[in-house]
């Protein structure tokens, strides 16, 4: 399977690569635009801060590349957020695949939302064989509200999008690469799309 992980100035890229290796998949970590266009599957992971990361993507033309991709793309964590319209983090214009804002959690509970929380109403191909209420690992201070593209919800302070899907674009706020067997199933489901 020809899988590419987009290389950019965000953390956590290595963990996704390791998770794929555990599934027997040798992915290529690259920022080469031609390679990204040609890949069968593209993963856009990330932990970090929105404005600095977005600036880097724009300087390297990766924002436009991502938007134009027609193969299955999976954004993870910050990846999901950057695929939205705008982020409250650093008042950042994002890639705009999902027509949604990214908002900061109000301080009614501890922020970041950190740890294992349940997936509610998981639907669609990403969640084949994933049970209602299965636990996934989250670490984030910003969230995407529940919307038409939401394919799994999570409840922390308020309901938000744990995962999204629109056309060939998929995204998870949780980290499938760190979510034990549930996460592995989500990655397997994405790879076998």
């Amino acid at each position: 399977m020809d899988v590419v992980i987009i290389k950019y100035n965000a953390g956590n890229i290595r963990s996704v690569d390791f998770a794929l290796k555990r599934m027997g998949i040798e992915a290529e970590i690259t920022d080469d635009i031609q390679r990204i266009y040609a890949a069968k599957k593209v993963i856009f992971p990330g932990v970090g801060e929105a404005s600095g990361t977005m600036k880097y993507l724009m300087e390297n033309g990766l924002d436009k590349v991502l938007k134009r991709l027609s193969q299955p793309v999976l954004g993870i964590c910050l990846g999901q957020q950057l695929m939205c319209e705008w982020s409250e983090e650093g008042n950042t214009d994002c890639i705009g695949i999902f027509d949604q804002p990214v908002l900061k959690f109000p301080p009614q509970d501890k922020v970041p939302h950190m740890g294992w929380n349940q997936l509610l109403n998981p639907v669609g191909p990403l969640f084949k064989n994933v049970q209602e209420g299965a636990y996934a690992y989250f670490v984030h201070s910003y969230y995407v509200p529940v919307c038409d593209d939401t394919v799994a919800e999570c409840d922390y302070i308020n309901r938000f999008s744990a995962a999204m899907h629109k056309n060939n674009f998929y995204a998870t706020q949780f980290h499938p690469e760190k979510s034990g067997e549930t996460g592995q199933r989500v990655l397997e489901n994405f790879i076998s799309l």
């Binding site: 953390g11 956590n12 290595r14 963990s15 390791f18 998770a19 290796k21 555990r22 932990v47 970090g48 801060e49 301080p107 501890k110 922020v111 970041p112 939302h113 950190m114 740890g115 294992w116 929380n117 349940q118 636990y135 690992y137 670490v139 984030h140 201070s141 409840d155 922390y156 980290h175 690469e177 760190k178 979510s179 034990g180 067997e181 996460g183 592995q184």
Partner: protein, 250 residues
């Protein structure tokens, strides 16, 4: 609902997992990678690897081990010990660590918390605090509990939160190794004054102690070592106990 986390802690010396009692009398207990993978299978929510010799002997960072851990583990893990500058954190991030925990170095140079948080995000930095209750005051210690410094637990915890710490890992030196329960009063106070998660450490001996630390101590996560290493409380059994006592665990 967000689950309370159970975190086995693996102390590493010379690439092996060890466990001391009251920071002394160190015994070997097994291969860190195998032990970590076993805990992940058992339902551990996260792991902490601490290079216990690094801080005072200036040992080289154990990034090769971290890479092996990252390759084999499908749950998050943090690493600590010997992180003295931003570059040390960078090496561990590249090796695949999800978080770093910093302790002595940030007492000496608090600005390091800001630097790591700015560089890699708050979620990447846990500030570990060792403290001992002395004459009614929680005195902070560094260098593996060897050296007292002019800091008090609650003020210091608030300061590092302001500087961008994503979590606090508080070890009560009075409770560590005793198996008489966690420092629930101090933990409750910490949890109430902070807006970031608190990991409780030191004193776990029974399943009831975990129930107490979540209910009375208001901790977000509880860490323990020997009771897991010696299988005194298997993690699945602990989690069943907590579920029966209405604590939300995975």
């Amino acid at each position: 609902m967000l689950a309370k986390r159970i975190i086995p802690c693996l102390d590493i010396r010379d690439g092996k997992t060890v466990k001391g009692v009251n920071f002394l009398d160190i015994k070997e207990v097994g291969d860190p990678v195998e032990l970590g993978a076993k805990y992940a299978m058992d339902g551990a929510d996260e792991l902490v690897y601490l290079d216990i010799t690094a801080s005072h002997e200036k040992r080289k960072l154990f990034s090769e081990l971290v890479q092996r851990i990252a390759a084999n583990l499908n749950i998050p893990f943090s690493v600590g010990g010997g992180i003295n500058e931003l570059r040390d954190a960078d090496i561990l991030l590249s090796a695949g660590a999800d978080k770093v925990s910093v302790n002595s170095a940030v007492v000496r140079d608090p600005e390091l918390v800001d630097q790591i948080a700015r560089g890699y995000g708050s979620q990447f930095v846990i500030v570990a605090i060792d403290a001992k209750l002395e004459k009614g005051r929680w005195q902070v210690y560094i260098n593996g509990g060897r050296q007292p410094v002019s800091k008090e637990l609650f003020t210091w915890a608030r300061e590092v939160q302001e500087r961008g710490a994503g979590e606090i890992l508080f070890t009560s030196m009075n409770h560590d190794g005793t198996k008489n329960g966690f420092a629930c009063d101090a933990l409750k106070e910490l949890s109430e004054i902070l807006s970031i998660p608190v990991i409780a450490s030191g004193g776990a001996g029974t399943e009831k102690h975990f129930e107490d630390v979540f209910k009375s101590g208001k901790a977000d996560a509880a860490l323990a070592a020997s009771i897991f290493h010696y299988n005194e409380i298997p993690i699945p059994k602990l989690k069943n106990y907590l579920k029966e006592h209405h604590i939300n665990v995975r």
